[in-house]
Amino acid sequence: MSKIAVKVDDLTVAYNYKPVLWDIDLEIPEGVLMAIVGPNGAGKSTLIKSILGILKPIAGSVTIYGKPYNKQRQLVAYVPQKGSVDWDFPTTALDVVMMGTYGSLGWIKRPRQKEKKAALEALEKVGMLAFKGRQISQLSGGQQQRIFLARALVQNASIYFMDEPFQGVDATTEIAIINILKELRKAGKTVIVVHHDLQTVPEYFDWVTFLNVKKIATGPVKDIFNDDNLTKTYGINFKVSVQE
């Protein structure tokens, strides 16, 4: 836990002048597998989008390994919460995964054999190789989720942001995905996941951030994942049985 992968300072973000994130300070150490938890509308997606420069904050700053995001794009991969893509777009699963390589190609240069090979490998990893020729709207929700995971994998980034990757996926897929995420951590990558299922937090993650408009707490799961923080975050008196 030496280096800081992502550092957020005094971040305030608003939609139509209504702040949804207030004065967030956050340090994410390199090599953690971190859950962001908080109720619907807490600003979890907003936080990720602001870190990635998709949204402009009204105050504060974000650095990735000490530099602004637009200098560090290559280091970051992002799996959005569903909905930002055009499902009827004429493109196949393989093609979607290939798009993950566009960032390292830069403007104008076209993907070649090498990129295609990387995409096929990623598809294999998420168990979707058999579907490589399918139009993306003809995949089930969980299969689409896996495609987006594969797309993030080919980006070969150092930091992965995933906005609810387990939404609507079955138990087998969830385990497959978490195993891939754990592998990424083992390889020294930093993985940040928006997660709703509080029961599985201690089992899946080693680091956690509680968020509800403000940052409630951030740190190792074993130290801070407790009823006190859950109650502060979710507002109601919370009792989850946390097994160690």
Partner: protein, 386 residues
């Protein structure tokens, strides 16, 4: 064919290609209406450009018009961003306003300007060969051909250079942004190309045909393929086909060329809409009918699998029990027989071995949704096609 005829077809074909390329992306971005807006609202740009240059042939007119086109897009987006109206309403607000400004400007100065509204809407393709480009006195061909040729060259170059960027930002603007391909730059780039193409094609073919050529071929191609490159290729082919057939249709009827090409585009879209193999209306209806039969078949087979009692498997009982109309029961029975899934002996129906395995596999598939198990069955059954 004389040379004027060839030139007209060539101009129409180049316009068709130049329109199909941005048109494909407009259709994919669900922005078909914006081309309508651009084509109408560039009128004041042309008129104002004319007032300034006092020369209808000045290339500056194209710049002025393209500029108005981009202003249209910006205005539409501005109105939309207020959140008070939807995009198509915003478009509906902007372009009639700009178009009427153009018409008023023309009407006020109509005496000394050769610009009439009919020509603006329908173009003068038949006269395009008479307006020649002379370079130091040498006739190098119709001016419209040069204008659209240059625009097409620019469009194709940009398409090849930025294909990947256009694709990713159209498919997933969020990803494009996070990869460092500014969706805004690509958006305005595309809008600029659409505006310039509209303006360049406008003089030759008129506003209505420009819109039709941008949207109809791309919309038809969209129904036929799930591959962006093929969609572009098909849109271009459809555009050129309509341009040439429209020309000869007009020739035969002695009618307006632009009008005939528009008619051809309409017909072509209609045919594709009806007959497209997977997304066409007829194919969808046929598939639904097949699926209904197959679901019935499966229900029937499953019933046989679950019941060994003879009375449960009597033909008459099956009709009552599963409660189908006789016709459908007959279709299903015949389908099962034809596929060797059942045998009927003294009005008692039994599953064959093949029928038995098929039923188990199909149920397995429906429950697990695992594709690999039914690869070999896919050809026979619509039900399992994605």
């Amino acid at each position: 064919m004389n040379s004027a005829q060839i030139e007209i077809q060539l101009i129409a074909s180049l316009v068709a290609i130049a329109c199909a390329i941005p048109g494909t992306f407009l259709v994919l971005r669900k922005m078909a209406m914006i081309s309508d807006a651009i084509s109408h609202s560039i009128l004041p740009g042309i008129v104002i450009g004319f007032f300034i240059t006092q020369d209808l042939n000045s290339p500056l007119l194209i710049l002025f018009a393209a500029f108005t086109g981009i202003i249209t897009v910006i205005l539409v987006e501005y109105i939309q961003k207020t959140g008070l109206v939807k995009e198509d309403t915003a478009i509906g607000l902007v372009f009639p306003a700009l178009f009427s400004i153009g018409v008023i400007l023309i009407a006020k100065n109509a005496n000394d300007v050769h610009l009439d509204v009919d020509a603006v809407l329908l173009g003068e393709l038949a006269f395009a060969p008479f307006d020649r480009l002379l370079i130091s006195g040498v006739d190098v061909g119709p001016k419209a051909l040069w204008i659209i040729g240059v625009i097409l060259l620019i469009t194709v170059t940009l398409l090849i250079a930025f294909f990947k960027e256009l694709k990713v930002s159209t498919f997933d603007a969020g990803l494009a942004a996070s990869l460092g391909f500014s969706p805004a730059i690509i958006h305005y780039g595309l809008m600029s190309v659409a505006s310039v193409t509209t303006v360049g094609a406008f003089d030759a073919v008129g506003a209505i045909l420009v819109v039709a050529l941008m949207i109809a071929p791309a919309a038809a191609a969209y129904l036929l393929t799930t591959d962006l490159k093929k969609m572009l290729g098909l849109a271009i082919t459809f555009g050129v086909m309509s341009a040439i057939s429209g020309y000869w249709f007009a020739h035969w009827l002695d009618a307006s060329i632009a009008g005939s090409i528009t008619t051809m585009l309409g017909l072509l879209f209609l045919m594709v809409y009806l007959f497209a193999p997977s997304k066409g209306v007829i194919a969808v209806m046929y598939r639904e009918k097949q699926q209904r039969i197959e679901v019935s078949l499966l229900t029937f087979l499953l019933h046989l699998k679950n019941h060994n009692e003879l009375e449960e498997r009597h033909v008459n009982h099956l009709r009552e029990h599963i409660n189908w109309q006789k016709v459908r029961a007959k279709t299903v029975l015949e389908l099962a027989l034809k596929n060797n899934m059942i045998v009927v002996d003294k009005n008692i129906v039994s599953l064959t071995e093949k029928g038995d395995t098929f039923t188990s596999k199909a149920i397995d598939y429906i429950i697990t949704n695992e594709d690999t198990q039914i690869e070999d069955m896919k050809d026979d059954f619509f039900l399992f096609r994605g």
